[in-house]
């Protein structure tokens, strides 16, 4: 059972790192719009748009 004395501190470190990661993600506004990015994914060349047609 003495393995618990190692596992528990590791758990705590893991938990706090996940919590910190989550708080960072919230701060980065990653949860503000949950719908649009899902759609954006479907559109081709979203991020690497080449030259646009000029009209």
């Amino acid at each position: 059972m003495s393995i618990l004395y190692i596992i528990i501190p590791i758990t705590i470190i893991l938990v706090s790192s996940f919590v910190i990661f989550f708080l960072w993600a919230v701060k980065e506004e990653q949860f503000d719009d949950l719908e649009t990015p899902a759609h954006k994914m479907l559109i081709d060349d979203w991020n690497d748009k080449p030259e646009k047609i000029k009209i």
């Binding site: 919230v26 719009d33 719908e35 559109i43 081709d44 047609i53 000029k54 009209i55």
Partner: protein
């Protein structure tokens, strides 16, 4: 979709003279970007673009043409949106980010990925736009400009694409605060989830029989994980409780906070004493579930529209004021107008201030004040009100009241005041919680004073167990969860409900007040049908071509809106213009002329009330006389929404009283009422906005359904209100619920949704009380060990959760059936 995306890869090249040069310069297809290997097979368009095949060339042409037509549509540069770029408007509505102006729009009609794609093309069409960022969960679009002055263009392009765009006021602080609040809630939720998950793990081993030193250590670990929950995550409950106690109304937060604090103290004492009776796990799960359900509810509520409160659009308009020194008209913003200024308003523009007409006559559309369908003719010296639109001719007015003090200005100001002073509804759950918590506290006190003589330690223990167990916590999160599921359901169907409170208010509605024009009817003045002078010849009567030609040729000279409607209709019928002589205007809106020795006279008359027509509202009748004989009549008016009759009948059958409040004249209103079978005393006509609001305030538990600025005052009162599709901005802001689907059947859907939702909530309420009562009783009798309590609490939560889920699922099926019946 795929092809259209590919087009963005296309390159545009300069026109080259010789085909040989072309073959050399182009190695890639303009449309699909594949390398053109065989130069001889390549296709060249007129302006020198190279394509690998005819298919690419054709698709490219179509797509490009499509883009062209969108951008060049006449409506794509509507003067109607010019006010968006005036300084006074920008001051309130735009945000500066990195020295670039941005404006947020609420967009009506966003559906799917294609909408996102097309809106994303805006920067391509308007080069001055830096980017257009669409948020589909809020239906908002953030437009950033490279150089100022193009917001109006963006709005008109959006309108050309078929979306209605409302600028949203940039309350920087409020917006920022709301965002921070959302983030804060989410953070609390995340921390609570992480901590309670770990508490569950540690508690599990204690429940499975862990004893001794290790158990003690796990207890302290539980405590360590519980502290962030207690001091950070549960904070909103403390502040809510404090607020509700200060208002003198204990809310559902009272029993929650009592359970949290008492449970924590009890567990702490047990921990220090070396007992293993902890409530950390139950409490943390409780807080997690509560936070989650409240977070989901606040996410589903469409509160962002609230922050977009209006600015009187008329104030930001530019108008032309007579300058007596330079003897010409100066362009100034309407807010700088003074009393006794002379202002010129051209056709299509809105009157910027209250005043009197100085020129001979003008035709105005008074719908902003009356909602009336028919244009009104004003003569010299008559009063003209701000916000009305000049539809024919021009108006020169002498300002009597400045824009802010004008009638419409006053109304909009009052609307704004009322929205912020709405009396909040004490929800059913809060009412129930209020009584229940008092009951539990009294019962606890009685038991304690009685049992303390028998066994003091047991008395303390059992009373505390009672308070923890009896907390109707299951209810506290089942209610917001049910509400948010319903709100989500409504949002999917295109009903944006600003807050859950409005949904509850709908449940108590006993009277519904409808606006007529634009709400029950389609709100457009149009040609409806021909009528024969002989009664027996009704049905599909239509005058012969010669008469049609004659009507067109004469009416084309008339400026009257009725004539214009008729001309517009006839133009679609392929009529010829004939030579007309001796044209004369007949006083009382009529015109006569002679064509080939035949004298025609076209006069508008009041419709007789006996017209039997089930779907249309005839508000004007045009009679055509040839050489003195009546040969045909044209009916003009406004069409009823196709679902109006059915909806009214169904609402009537569930015992809700219908009323019509209209600014229109009494004949069209009574004909609508007759068609919808609404009793005589339940409709009123000729109502001004102030009067509408006065009437509705006399009826508690009422619902206002409308679309115009003239309804917004009534909508902002304490009653619940629905704005129908196509409502003006002030109405959208004043209303609690905004419907983006055509017609009035959403009113019925929403009432049904509300009733069903509250059915589920009441069921949960009853279950929760029975359960807690039984639990409390068992606790008092000493049957509940901490372990049983720990099991019982989540079980009750699970039951109400599944009850809400099943209840709202049933709702979905139910609504689907209704929906298919409606259509």
């Amino acid at each position: 979709m795929n092809d259209s995306a590919v087009i963005t890869k296309a390159e545009n090249r300069q026109v080259d003279d010789s085909a040989a040069d072309l073959k050399d310069t182009h190695s890639n297809c303009t449309h699909c970007s594949t390398t053109i290997t065989d130069g001889d097979k390549a296709v060249f368009s007129n302006n020198g673009d190279a394509f690998c095949c005819w298919g690419c060339e054709t698709v490219y042409k179509i797509l490009k043409k499509g883009n062209f037509s969108l951008i060049n549509r006449p409506s794509a540069s509507l003067p109607e949106y010019d006010f968006l770029d005036t300084d006074s408007f920008l001051q309130d509505y735009s945000v500066s980010v990195d020295n670039k102006k941005s404006m947020r729009f609420f967009i009506e009609g966003i559906q799917c990925t294609a909408c996102l794609w097309i809106i994303d093309q805006i920067p391509d069409w308007i080069p001055q736009v830096e980017n257009a960022n669409l948020n589909m969960s809020q239906n908002t679009l953030l437009v950033t400009l490279k150089e100022p002055g193009y917001f109006g263009k963006v709005a008109s392009v959006l309108s050309a694409l078929g979306y209605k765009a409302y600028p949203v006021k940039s309350l920087d602080e409020a917006k920022h605060f709301q965002k921070k609040e959302n983030h804060q809630q989410l953070k609390r939720l995340g921390v609570a989830a992480a901590c309670s998950g770990n508490i569950m793990l540690f508690s599990f081993s204690i429940y499975s029989g862990l004893k001794g030193q290790m158990a003690g250590m796990f207890g302290y670990l539980n405590l360590a994980f519980f502290l962030p929950i207690l001091f950070y995550c549960a904070q909103p409950f403390y502040t809510n409780l404090w607020r509700s106690l200060r208002a003198g109304r204990p809310s559902i937060d009272l029993p929650i906070v009592a359970a949290i604090i008492i449970g924590f103290v009890l567990s702490l004492i047990n921990l220090i004493q070396g007992n293993e009776d902890f409530y950390f796990d139950s409490l943390s799960i409780l807080i997690l579930l509560l936070l989650a359900s409240r977070y989901f509810l606040s996410r589903t509520q469409q509160t962002f529209i609230n922050s977009s409160y209006m600015q009187t659009f008329i104030e930001s308009q530019v108008c032309q004021r007579w300058n007596s020194e330079s003897n010409e008209y100066d362009k100034i913003p309407a807010r700088h107008l003074n009393v006794d200024d002379k202002v010129l308003i051209k056709e299509g523009e809105r009157v910027p201030a209250d005043g009197t007409v100085l020129n001979e006559w003008v035709n105005i559309n008074p719908s902003i004040l009356t909602g009336e369908s028919l244009p009104q003719k004003l003569f010299k010296d008559s009063d003209i009100y701000a916000g009305t639109q000049v539809v024919a001719g021009y108006a020169e007015i002498l300002v009597k009241q400045t824009t802010g003090n004008s009638r419409i200005g006053q109304i909009l100001k009052k609307v704004e005041e009322q929205i912020y002073n709405k009396t909040p509804l004490i929800s059913l759950t809060d009412k129930a919680a209020q009584y229940f918590s008092i009951f539990i506290l009294v019962a606890g006190a009685l038991f304690f004073s009685f049992y303390i003589n028998v066994d003091p330690t047991e008395a303390v223990k059992r009373t505390l167990a009672l308070i923890i167990l009896a907390c109707p916590c299951a209810l506290a999160f089942a209610t917001p969860l049910t509400q948010s599921l319903s709100l989500r359901k409504a949002a999917k169907k295109g009903y944006l409900i600003k807050n859950a409170e409005s949904l509850e208010k709908l449940n108590y509605v006993k009277n519904i007040f409808f606006d007529k024009t634009g709400t029950l009817t389609q709100g457009q003045f149009e040609f409806l049908t021909w009528k024969s002078p002989r009664a027996e010849e009704s049905g599909n009567f239509s005058p012969d071509q010669e008469t049609l030609d004659a009507i067109y040729s004469i009416e084309v000279y008339s400026q009257h809106p009725i004539a214009r409607t008729l001309v517009k209709y006839l133009e679609g019928k392929g009529v010829k213009k004939l030579a007309v002589h001796s044209l004369t205007e007949i006083p009382g809106s009529g015109i006569s002329g002679t064509i080939d020795d035949d004298n025609y006279k076209i006069v508008s008359e009041l419709p007789d009330e006996n017209i039997r027509d089930d779907s249309d509202i005839i508000s004007s009748l045009i009679s055509i006389y040839k050489n003195g004989n009546l040969i045909a009549s044209a009916c003009l008016g406004d069409r009823l929404h196709s679902d109006a009759k059915q909806t009214i009948a169904k609402l009537d059958s569930i015992g809700i009283k219908m009323h019509i409040l209209s600014g229109d004249k009494s004949i069209p209103v009574s004909s609508v009422a007759k068609k919808l079978r609404i009793a005589n005393e339940q409709f009123s006509s000729n109502l001004m906005p102030e009067k509408k609001s006065e009437i509705i305030n006399n009826f508690p538990d009422s619902l206002m359904v409308g679309d115009g600025a003239n309804d917004s005052l009534a909508m902002s009162s304490d009653n619940v209100s629905i704005a129908v599709q196509g409502s003006v901005e002030s109405c959208l802001v004043a209303a609690d619920i905004y419907v983006t689907r055509e017609g009035v059947s959403p009113v019925r859907d929403l009432i049904l949704l509300s009733q069903n939702t509250f059915g589920v909530i009441k069921r949960n309420l009853v279950f929760s009380f029975v359960y807690n009562f039984a639990g409390g009783l068992a606790a008092l009798l000493g049957y509940i060990s901490p372990l049983t309590a720990a099991i019982l609490m989540p079980v009750s939560s699970l039951v109400v959760l599944s009850s809400s889920a099943i209840g709202t699922k049933f709702l979905r099926r139910f609504n689907k059936i209704n929906f298919s019946l409606n259509n």
